[in-house]
């Protein structure tokens, strides 16, 4: 029988459940090798009774749940000691870690301890077919502020990479899959050097960090109408922005202003409603990944820099978009 390839995914507990990036990594790991040739295993550290079975339903052959009160809150040194010991014992060829804040902090610590290479923040993974590196994991990652893509291979074992969240689709959940969870004991529960004295949640919103911005301009007639934008933004997990015209008119504060003299933003999705697109405004948002524009003026400059535009009244279009998004959200579930 042909050789099978063992791939270990370090899954993370976040807000009581498994961080979804693990499902994406399972999907990617399964398709790295021809069908049946990837052996995908997950290791997860924590305490309590989280639903780790889902990792199996997404395609992991075995889930190792290393359970101990010491893992209640993550601490890199202790996690590293245990994960390295596990890796030495199980000898995976590939170790994949979600590039979350924990993954990015923990990954290099593990790699350095194992004296192996680590590729940060990958956006694509494939098995190399080039002569010199055939069979190696080719790790593709952006660098220079996302201006280039570097293809990287690792000469040592295991081949390790952290992978960005939301780069790959999640593996589909299949209830018929066998659930194989092994609750294992920690190798160590204490390392000196770091005590966690307090943990707490704190949410803050900042338009510059928003992944989705629904922005309004002169087409917005009164302050209350911003609620329409807010409704769409909330549905999309985003925030409301405005053009300078609305700030000048006193409808919104300058912390919400997008533009050359306001906030320069780069969200994944920018929806411009009733914004004509003065150069001042465009300078602040043209780097957005996807731009959707709604405006009554077919010659508005915003239409020349958008991906999708609709010539029409935002007061008619936005309610329809809101209904659509609600429906699409339903489908997602």
């Amino acid at each position: 029988m042909e050789q099978r390839h063992k791939i270990l995914i370090l899954a993370e507990l976040c807000e009581g459940g498994v961080h979804k990036v693990a499902y994406e990594l399972i999907g990617k790991a399964l398709e790295l090798y021809p069908s049946g040739k990837s052996v995908v295993e997950c290791l997860i550290l924590g305490n309590g009774e989280p639903d780790v079975a889902e990792l199996c339903r997404r395609g992991a052959e075995t889930v190792y749940y290393m359970k101990d009160p010491a893992f209640e809150e993550p601490e890199e040194q202790l996690y590293k000691e245990n994960i390295c010991a596990f890796i030495r014992e199980h000898e995976p060829e590939i170790v994949l870690i979600g590039a979350t804040s924990l993954g990015r902090s923990l990954g290099p610590r593990i790699a350095a301890a194992l004296r192996t290479g680590l590729t940060a923040d990958c956006t694509q993974l494939q098995i190399s077919t080039e002569e010199k590196t055939a069979g190696k994991l080719e790790q593709i990652r952006p660098a220079f502020s996302d201006n280039i893509l570097a293809h990287i291979v690792t000469g040592t074992m295991p081949q390790m990479a952290t992978v960005r969240y939301k780069e790959f689709p999640e593996a589909v959940s299949d209830k018929s899959r066998e659930v194989n969870i092994k609750v294992i004991k920690p190798y160590r529960t204490e390392v000196s050097g770091c005590r966690i004295t307090r943990v707490y949640r704190e949410l803050q919103e900042n338009i510059q960090d928003a992944q989705v911005i629904v922005a309004g301009g002169r087409g917005i007639r009164k302050k209350e109408d911003l609620a329409l934008l807010k409704e769409l933004a909330d549905l999309l997990g985003g925030q409301v922005g405005v053009s300078r015209a609305l700030v000048d008119a006193g409808l919104a504060g300058s912390s919400m202003q997008v533009g050359y003299s306001g906030n320069r933003v780069k969200p994944a999705l920018y929806i411009a409603c009733g914004i004509s697109g003065a150069p001042q405004h465009l300078a602040g948002m043209k780097e957005s990944d996807v731009v959707i524009a709604v405006n009554t003026d077919p010659s508005a400059p915003i239409f020349s820099i958008c991906d999708y535009g609709y010539v029409g009244d935002l007061y008619q279009i936005l309610p329809q978009m809101i209904e659509d998004v609600k429906a699409w959200k339903g489908e997602e579930k």
């Binding site: 807000e15 610590r109 301890a113 220079f144 978009m321 998004v325």
Partner: protein, 264 residues
């Protein structure tokens, strides 16, 4: 007196680097090099601690000889000692080889109490060297430190911005390595006088030979790097389709569906 080391990288001014998507190359020639912006926060954190507890701040850069310019800038901003880790044999180091080399340089310059670095570099974006240095030195580390709450003889208390969705306050035994976020402070500009003085600041140069016993040739440079860059691609600049719809909302809705679902 406590010794704080700040690990700094010199990077090209990213607004001026040119990318050629035809040839798949990066041309840094048109760009001036400067201190990695994220490292300014680490240096400021060190200088702030100096105000409180009178420590010595050593700035360390691994890079080509011309990187001494950024070290002088670090001096202007309050570093007391400037160390340039430079040798042709260090060339081609990946993050693991870099961390070994930096760890050796830090050890060579004395026993550190605290090592600080910035969140990441704007060119490599890897954010790996800090934790790898900590591992090599066998000391605890924290990433995403947004506040240094206090430092005593033996410990430093920090607040970590976000790990698995929560903030953490941690007490770390010294020596420790901290990687700080942009939010930790606002880097101060140097005074004009200190800037002018810095032009003549002394630069301590460390070559591989100077690190004997701490670093071997096999551990650094190309030889010491497990990862290799096969090739780079420069993706073409995104051009937008500007698909404009009128009257038919249905078509518009179908067109944006993919983009909207992407963010749900």
């Amino acid at each position: 007196m406590k010794h704080i080391f700040v690990l700094i990288k010199e990077v090209p001014d990213m607004t001026r680097v040119k990318f050629d998507s035809e040839k798949g190359t990066v041309n840094r020639n048109s760009a001036d090099a400067e201190m990695n912006p994220f490292d300014l926060n680490a240096l400021q954190a060190a200088v702030d601690l100096k105000q409180i507890c009178g420590c010595q701040v050593t700035a360390v850069i691994m890079g080509p000889p011309k990187a001494e310019k950024s070290l002088k800038d670090a001096f202007a901003r309050g570093a007391d000692r400037c160390v340039l880790v430079t040798d042709a044999k260090f060339g081609g180091s990946d993050t693991l080889a870099t961390s070994r080399t930096l760890a050796a340089a830090v050890k060579k310059m004395g026993k550190p109490d605290l090592i600080l670095c910035g969140e990441k570099s704007v060119d490599g974006d890897t954010a790996q060297v800090g934790a790898e240095v900590a591992e090599r030195m066998g000391i605890p580390h924290s990433y995403y430190v947004e506040e240094i709450c206090g430092m005593s003889e033996k410990e430093v208390t920090v607040r970590v911005e976000d790990l698995s969705g929560k903030k953490q306050e941690r007490v770390m035994t010294l020596p420790a390595l901290l990687s700080v976020t942009k939010n930790i402070n606002f880097p101060q500009m140097p005074t004009l006088k200190r800037k002018l003085e810095s032009l003549d600041a002394e630069i301590i140069r460390l070559k591989l030979a100077d690190l004997e016993g701490l670093l071997t040739e096999e551990e650094t440079g190309f030889k010491g790097s497990p990862t290799k860059v096969l090739k780079i691609e420069v993706p073409r600049m995104k051009t937008r389709d500007s698909k404009i719809f009128r009257e038919s909302y249905g078509e518009f809705s179908a067109a944006i569906r993919g983009a909207m679902k992407e963010v749900l």
